[in-house]
């Protein structure tokens, strides 16, 4: 009961969606769209579990005064402030029928003042990490690492005048060795070959994993076959 029914549900839903790809007849035609809306609704219910866990962890920290408990107060208060502003549509010009993100609402103000700059700044950290990663990773230790280095180097030179001065003097027949042309070639030939092989591999991996899930060979959350 606890094990066979979940396996049956996964088998039925997975198979129905695969078959729906080939049958345009009424029930199957909108199966994919309907199931995706069902999935979104389940995900909204799951939010209660997730949000509840977040609050429990931080309130627990505050109660037992564990390490950095003072910061947990920031998380909990930020959470309730934004949730109240959003669900109650505080400050929304046309009240309940107005959009929850309408300009002038507290929710929009908090989004513009805190969420958006924090997100953009965390994203911009990548510029620093790209530099430290390339300093450490692009070393000609092995043949593979050398190819990685050379390919990245050609592309990195492109926007810099260094790239231009390094190769502009090459005579006409060697024109394809000019950095702009060379980087175009590296991007559209070896890079495309590698990406294509990876995508073919991934597609086969996903086809096989989906099949294992549908046939119940891969059980993860139900525990291995033994028990």
């Amino acid at each position: 009961m606890k094990r066979t029914i979940p396996l049956l549900i996964t088998f039925a839903v997975g198979l129905a969606l695969i078959v729906a790809m080939f049958i345009p007849h009424v029930p199957f035609y909108e199966l994919d769209g309907m199931f995706s809306v069902f999935y979104d609704v389940i995900a909204v219910f799951a939010f209660i579990l997730g949000g509840g866990n977040l609050l429990k962890v931080h309130l627990n920290k505050i109660q037992n005064k564990r390490r950095d408990w003072k910061y947990s107060i920031v998380t909990v208060s930020g959470f309730f402030l934004v949730l109240a502003a959003g669900l109650l549509k505080i400050g929304v010009p046309d009240g309940w029928s107005g959009g929850y993100q309408a300009p002038g609402s507290l929710f929009k103000f908090l989004y513009d003042a805190t969420f958006q700059p924090l997100q953009a700044t965390m994203f911009s950290l990548l510029a620093f990490f790209v530099a430290s990663a390339s300093y450490r990773a692009f070393r000609a230790k092995t043949k593979e690492a050398t190819i990685l280095l050379v390919a990245a180097f050609i592309i990195l030179l492109r926007p810099t005048p260094l790239g231009y001065y390094l190769t502009y003097w090459l005579p006409e027949p060697l024109r394809f060795l000019h950095i702009p042309n060379l980087s175009t070639w590296v991007l559209s030939v070896p890079n495309m070959a590698g990406q294509r092989a990876i995508m073919i591999g991934i597609a086969l991996g996903i086809v096989s994993t989906s099949l294992r899930l549908i046939l119940g060979i891969e059980r993860s959350y139900l525990g291995s076959e033994g028990k």
Partner: protein, 301 residues
């Protein structure tokens, strides 16, 4: 971080790291500092770079330069507000060059969000820098029509069937510059400014090839690789991302020095790119040189 520092310090104190070893494992925070400066300083001093123009961009520039004055150039705004930082400088550079050569500019859009960008171009560039150019004689604003590549198809056979009026609704028969425009084949050049679908690729596939019309244009950096296969046979040239726009600006300034001051939208934002890339390239070189020196030393013992 504390842990990492401890290990580094203990290593450092045991044997005084030679200069080479120190250069081999530079503390990541120094790299962060240099990248931060490499981006901030060009912004403060508004440093502009002279990006030498690659043939991909130069071909398109020479094409517009070589067209006889009064040629008809169609520019299509196929992008939204999110890619304005990359696409708008291209529209600006093209417009300046087209008016400088006395060509006729036809503005249209395959994207519903396109007209907003062409209106910004009219306000910021056309009405400010070229007040003498008359609407309906030197340039016209035709606006957006639905249909994606289907629209290009129809325009190829009968342009005026779809665009019976301009954006404000006045019939096209009243505009002298619209005379003789029966289909897309009557244009001397089509410039597709794109960031996705439909975009420059669709202009090549549905207008350039079937109608044998010269097509050029510009796309965002991420879409540029998709256009390489068409160059040079099916597309005159195109601008790839901000760097493409900066290269076109550089070519424009070289030809018409008076744009030195005004035409710097793309090249100023390319400043941080050049400096940051140079810092990264420098660190890669340093990292490899120290690696080779250490390896040769180890081989000798």
């Amino acid at each position: 971080m504390a842990e990492a520092e401890k290990t580094e310090k203990t290593e450092g104190t045991e044997k005084k790291g030679t200069f080479v070893e120190k250069m081999g494992s530079v503390d990541r925070r120094i790299i962060f500092l240099l990248i931060g400066l490499a981006v901030l300083i060009p912004i403060i001093i508004e440093y502009t770079t002279a990006i030498p123009t690659s043939p991909l961009v130069q071909n398109l520039f020479d094409k517009i330069e070589s067209l006889p004055p009064g040629s008809k150039v169609l520019m299509s705004f196929d992008y939204g507000p999110s890619t304005v930082p990359e696409n708008q400088p291209m529209a600006t550079a093209f417009t300046r060059h087209i008016f400088e050569k006395g060509h006729k500019l036809y503005l249209m859009a395959l994207w519903a969000t396109g007209p907003r960008q062409s209106e910004a171009l009219i306000e910021d560039v056309i009405s400010v820098e070229f007040p003498d150019k008359k609407y309906g004689e030197d340039w016209i604003h035709l606006g957006y029509k639905a249909g994606n590549q289907g629209l290009i198809n129809t325009l190829l056979s009968d342009f005026t069937a779809m665009y019976t009026t301009d954006l404000d609704g006045t019939s096209i028969d009243e505009f002298p510059m619209m005379k003789g425009i029966g289909s897309l084949t009557d244009f001397d050049l089509i410039l597709g400014l794109g960031s996705g679908f439909p975009g420059t690729k669709e202009w090549v596939q549905f207008a350039g090839d079937p109608g044998d019309i010269p097509v050029g244009g510009g796309t965002t950096a991420v879409m540029a690789p998709l256009l390489f296969p068409y160059y040079p046979r099916q597309i005159v040239g195109f601008l790839g991302g901000l760097q493409g726009a900066a290269e076109y600006e550089y070519a424009l300034i070289k030809q018409y020095p008076k744009y030195e001051e005004k035409s710097r939208l793309a090249s100023t934002s390319m400043g941080p790119q050049v400096w940051a890339h140079l810092v990264i390239v420098a660190f890669i070189i340093v990292g490899n040189i120290t690696f080779f020196i250490e390896r040769s030393r180890r081989k000798r013992y």
